[in-house]
Symmetry: C2
Subunit: 353 residues, 2 copies
């Protein structure tokens, strides 16, 4: 069935069923595998299980989730399927590219009259999702398969600096309250101090900096930066949060500009099912002995939403050069085949289990 937000979900009449899929769209101007790979694996597994007499009674329901990449909302499809998306959320959503209301886009696509499917946890043994790694860890270590242990939590903050906007020619350096300079100093200090408190796989990013008014001859009166960090351990995320809050407090006290921090979002790290990790590892060892590793996922995935209701597992295949969200995104043909074989074997282990 295709549902009211564009999720496409297969149906099997087998008695034991596994939900297998990934997401529908990628970013604009992005590559050919992000989302599509795991979706096609789902279809391939559904066909293979249906055709194989040895798999009698075992069914794969292939699924693909709409708008994982936040064209309208974040994880639109899997949130809808897991009951986290209200009608009002849909009413208010617009395309981040061109402002089209989501309602209008659904109407145009012919989904407007349809029911939105809701998860029935008792229907499934669990959820499996395969995805490209989108990083270079597998490639750099010469491995071919990653068994996801957890999906990192993403904590995001807006840090704002309040100075005094002034003429860049007539305002002496000594009396300036330059919000841009205050921002630069804090960002530099983050770069110096974060490595003391981050873990091996923690990542942190200042993705946006804005100075106001942003003119060459005006001392910035206001500045803002977006800071994000990711880790698979909640305790690590908490330590990083305490550290940035301390640094912001210090910057605010020592002046000359005010400095405040505001939390934008905090997603929980999600642990994958231990049994599914074992099944994936056994399958990986069958098809590529010694060429697999357990690893956390630095990116968010629909699996983190499904994992609230079902045992869930994820499998990664290598991304050449670690590239994703770009037309150059690619994976070796033999790794694409290996990933599908491994996922099928894992699905069978799980359904037989």
């Amino acid at each position: 069935v295709t549902d009211g937000v564009g999720n496409v979900i297969g149906r099997s009449s087998a008695s034991r069923r596994l939900l297998v899929g990934s997401h529908l769209e990628s970013q604009n101007h992005a590559g050919w595998l992000d989302g599509a790979l795991g979706t096609i694996y789902g279809l391939e597994l559904a066909r293979a299980f249906a055709e194989d007499p040895a798999c009698a009674g075992m069914g794969i329901e292939a699924a693909t989730w709409a708008d994982e990449e936040s064209h309208f909302l974040t994880y639109t499809g899997s949130k809808s399927f897991t009951g986290l998306l209200g009608e009002a959320d849909i009413d208010n959503a617009r395309s981040r590219t061109d402002g089209t209301p989501l309602r209008e886009a659904l109407e145009k696509a012919g989904y407007a009259g349809r029911k939105r499917e809701l998860i029935e946890p008792s229907r499934y043994v669990g959820y499996l999702e395969a995805h490209i790694e989108q990083g270079d860890y597998l490639e750099a270590t010469g491995l071919r398969l990653g068994i996801v242990t957890s999906i990192v939590g993403i904590w995001q903050y807006r840090i704002t600096f309040a100075g005094v906007q002034n003429h860049a020619g007539t305002t002496r350096m000594a009396i300036r309250k330059d919000a841009g300079l205050a921002l630069v100093k804090l960002a530099n200090e983050i770069d110096r101090r974060f490595p003391e408190v981050t873990g091996e796989r923690t990542v942190w990013t200042v993705g946006r900096i804005t100075l106001e008014p942003g003119a060459p001859s005006i001392v910035p009166g206001r500045a803002e930066m977006l800071l994000q960090f990711r880790d698979a351990e909640r305790s690590r995320l908490e330590l990083l949060e305490r550290t940035i809050q301390e640094m912001v407090g210090e910057a605010d006290r020592t002046g000359p500009c005010g400095c405040t921090i505001e939390t934008i979002s905090r997603s929980e790290p999600v642990v994958m099912s231990a049994g599914f990790q074992e099944a994936l590892e056994r399958a990986a060892e069958t098809h590529a002995p010694g060429q697999h590793i357990r690893m956390p996922s630095g990116a968010g995935h629909d699996a983190q939403l499904l994992a609230r209701h079902l045992p869930a597992g994820m499998l990664f295949v290598p991304s050449i050069g670690g590239i994703s969200h770009h037309w150059a995104e690619d994976t070796k043909d033999e790794d694409i085949v290996l990933g599908c074989q491994t996922l099928a074997t894992a699905a069978r282990i799980i359904l037989e289990g």
Copy 2:
């Protein structure tokens, strides 16, 4: 006469003539004195000299220059008057606020058919301009009049960082080429090293920072900052330029991101006429003994263009709190009166000279 770019220039039939004025518009949402003060002083001097039998043979031609504040072009009116503005420049100019072509704005204002006035240097003994200081130096030192010695040169640069845009969750810190972080480090280094090579009144500003694509979950692949510095001494400007070029070269060599610098503009510092400085100082000593000082102008003014053709002088009155380009811009009533009296006396000293 009102001319073809909106300059308004008075005419006197006296035999010795001084051009006295300032500019017409201020910034959008700015104050009531920037430009207007010196324009009104010009009118007041023209009236006073015309009425005073003691000033027979001495004439003030009041002038106000269009668009000093770069709504369409920089110093549009005084550039036109001093022969630096071609018809093609006008053809190509558009409003920085709403994109209206300058031709259309001139048409609407009724100036389109008019001739653009051109300076006849032999017509004038020189040019005088009064202006609010737009800084807090006079206020901070308890003085009431500033005699401008020179108008600073403004040198502007675009510094660009080329990294690799990547996923902020899956790209390990060790392999990132984060253009935003490279920018932050250079900006911090400028703050550390510039004070070693700047003079007492040098000012420098990073007014704009842009990270691309500027999304919270993407490692910036490209970053750009606008750097500007101002000083009254050419040798100091050259030293600062060598310093930033060295720093950019260092950043580029030590990586991980490429770093390049591009000159946007370099305006020459302009020295005010020594004779006019003396006349202004004598006048200031008459009206406010001991309450005046010679000082450079940190802001650009139309006088720097007129000074290419005529002896030129400038007088500053204090800005309360150093504020300008803001509705709170103000000067004490008694200082406004004092400035006009001083300018009139200086004009008389010059015209009698």
